[in-house]
């Protein structure tokens, strides 16, 4: 009773327990932390925007009775065969190698049933995804793993990947645990090595070369296929402008919340910008060139629901792409597998060691015992449901704003909850007419 109160233990904000654990891990292992997924920081995001909805000055559309269209054309600038999708939510590029064959099949099944496209990744085109995807975008990456003219011609579009949001300026990474016989054969690599893809394309450098590369791809495919150019969220104004100048039909813009199969945590968390900050810059570049809606803009990185879709489109995007959210819809990080996540030293919702190939959900693995657990038909059905719900949600919001097409959403429909989001998105802070940085203040 006579003891004096003492100061309770006090953790440093700078040297927090998490930071200290990272230091100890680096000291013990001699390697940086590698993980999958995108940024886990709290970032300014679509949650910081709100729709204003209709009022006396705006007429809403009648839910369930008045039509709100959702379709989108992609590649109308140069391609003889542009793509028409029923919904503006596409599946982002994810490689066979990073994902199992059944997972790629499920993405194809789910997207096709929902009327949208899937995308290959850094590993070439598999029969699973070509066979089950009505519309398949074929990525053209620095590694050129599996690249061949026959697959170029049986793709529905070609996506020249310059960068991705999780690691703008970085190349691919697929560690030895996942380089199975099939993956090794597709990539011409020895089995079991740690595979690091180049970050730059091997045969072009800079926007003038890119223009010639795009010409070559168009010639090989007889000008039929839309050519997308994918960029990470680094300098979206200039990168978008240069992609347009190089002849892109579609610009794909990926913010730092966009996932990766495996990369250094330091890269994921400290390089690139959130998608909210990227979209207005890219849209401005397109507008300045007179190419907004002529060159379509697909944005990705942290798209989770129909509200995110609607907000991205209100800021000027033509469509969005989802990766992480699609994997969750398939069953990734499902709490039903908690016991198995615990055995891996993690917990459902936090599992991100996709590079280790031990995914109990059977999605990010090349282990037959694990990937055979995954039912691609059921997974596809879940993805279709999810895509349709997202679309319904976006339509609900668009009708409330009086729009009969998702593409009619506009920045004027939005306000921001924080000064940061208002500045990044270029919309007024809620309850004010203030857009930070506009009109000189």
């Amino acid at each position: 009773m006579n003891e004096l109160p003492h100061t309770p233990p006090k953790y440093s904000w700078t040297f927090s327990p998490e930071v200290n654990a990272d230091i100890r891990r680096a000291a013990a292992s001699g390697i940086y932390d590698i993980r999958g997924g995108g940024s886990k920081r709290r970032l300014p995001h679509f949650d910081d925007l709100l729709f204003l909805g209709a009022s006396i000055s705006r007429y809403p559309l009648e839910g369930y009775r008045e039509r709100c269209a959702t379709d989108v054309w992609l590649g109308t600038r140069h391609a003889k065969k542009p793509i028409h999708l029923d919904i503006p939510v596409t599946i982002a590029g994810m490689s066979f190698g990073a994902l199992s064959g059944p997972a790629k099949e499920a993405l194809g099944r789910g997207a096709t049933a929902a009327g949208t496209s899937t995308t290959t990744g850094d590993g070439g085109m598999t029969e699973e995804e070509r066979g089950h995807s009505k519309t398949l975008v074929y990525q053209y990456l620095p590694s050129r793993y599996g690249m061949n003219p026959d697959d170029l011609r049986r793709a529905d579009a070609i996506e020249v990947v310059v960068g991705q949001g999780a690691k703008p300026g970085g190349g691919g990474m697929l560690l030895g645990q996942k380089i199975s016989d099939r993956v090794a054969a597709m990539r011409n690599l020895p089995k079991g090595i740690d595979q690091r893809s180049a970050c730059r394309h091997p045969d072009w450098t800079g926007p003038d070369d890119l223009e010639i590369k795009i010409l070559e791809l168009r010639e090989i495919t007889d000008w039929e296929k839309p050519i997308y150019v994918k960029i990470g969220g680094a300098r979206p104004y200039y990168d978008t402008a240069l992609a347009v100048k190089a002849g892109a039909d579609v610009v794909v813009l990926d913010g730092m919340q966009g996932g990766t199969a495996a990369t250094q945590d330091v890269f994921i968390e400290h390089v690139g910008m959130p998608i909210l900050a990227c979209i207005p810059q890219a849209v401005k570049a397109l507008q300045d060139l007179g190419m907004h809606r002529e060159v379509q803009l697909i944005v990705s990185g942290g798209i989770r629901n129909g509200a995110d879709v609607a907000k991205a489109m209100a800021l000027g995007a033509d469509a969005v792409a989802i990766g992480t959210a699609a994997l969750i819809a398939l069953g990734d990080n499902d709490p039903a597998l908690e016991d198995e996540y615990r055995k891996l030293g993690t917990t459902a919702g936090a599992y991100d060691d996709w590079h280790e190939g031990r995914d109990p959900a059977g999605i990010t693995t090349q282990d037959p015992e694990l990937f055979n657990r995954f039912d691609p038909i059921l997974g596809g059905r879940r993805l279709t449901n999810y895509l349709k719900v997202m679309t319904l949600e976006a339509q609900t919001i668009a009708r409330a704003c009086g729009k009969n097409h998702l593409h009619n959403l506009e920045p004027e429909d939005l306000c921001a909850l924080s000064i940061e989001a208002a500045a990044m998105a270029g919309v007024p802070l809620a309850g004010t007419t203030w857009i930070p940085g506009k009109n000189g203040y």
Binding site: R144, M147, N188, D203, E211, E219
Partner: protein, 254 residues
Amino acid sequence: MQNANIDIRSRGAALAVPPQDSSDGRQAFDLEAQGLRTLNSRLHALPHDTNETSWEIVNPKGSHAIAVGVSAPVDITVRGSTGYYCAGMNKLATVRVLGSVGPGVAENMMSGTVIVDGDASQYAGATGRGGLLVIKGNASSRCGISMKGIDIVVHGNIGHMSAFMAQSGNLVVLGDAGEALGDSLYEARLFVRGTVKSLGADCIEKEMRAEHLEALEDLLRRGEADAKARPEQFRRYGSARKLYNFNIDNASAY
């Protein structure tokens, strides 16, 4: 940015001039008059059993993407020098350039043969997966970058960073190699007759065994270089395989 609205299809636009059949059955094609689109679309339309097996392209004038994506067993001769990506993604065809080529000749070639009488710019044979690329002159930097099974024979010298991340196939150089040859090499085999300015990370000289001499003899013959060099004059380079799996003690190599 002011040119953003220009339709780039207007460059090399197809003109309604049919290809000319010369008296010897060769398809003569004037690229300047008839245009790139017409050339490539005609070459792509050729069936495997076509009787239009011999093509001669005149007036290339440095155009890009000449004879790209050809997938038929035909002979194509280009009379003059080309721009970027000549014979890109070639499959089955034999393409001979009677001049020099710009960057990325025979990039991602699948099969067939590409022969360049003159010099080649950067990235010759980049990511090539099969077939044979022969350069009678010199090749610039990054020759054979990321090669995946192609065979490349260079009669002259090659520039820096050649065979960077080369995965498989053979690179034969009768002359000298520039800096950082074979950096981050996988399983490609490199044979150099002259000097190597420096080797890249994880690239080492390796023993030349009988099977390598035999393979080299075949490569020199197919590369039209057997009258210029003998296999015994070459040294072999390959991967030390120390960077295949990450080890912090090798970090300084990156």
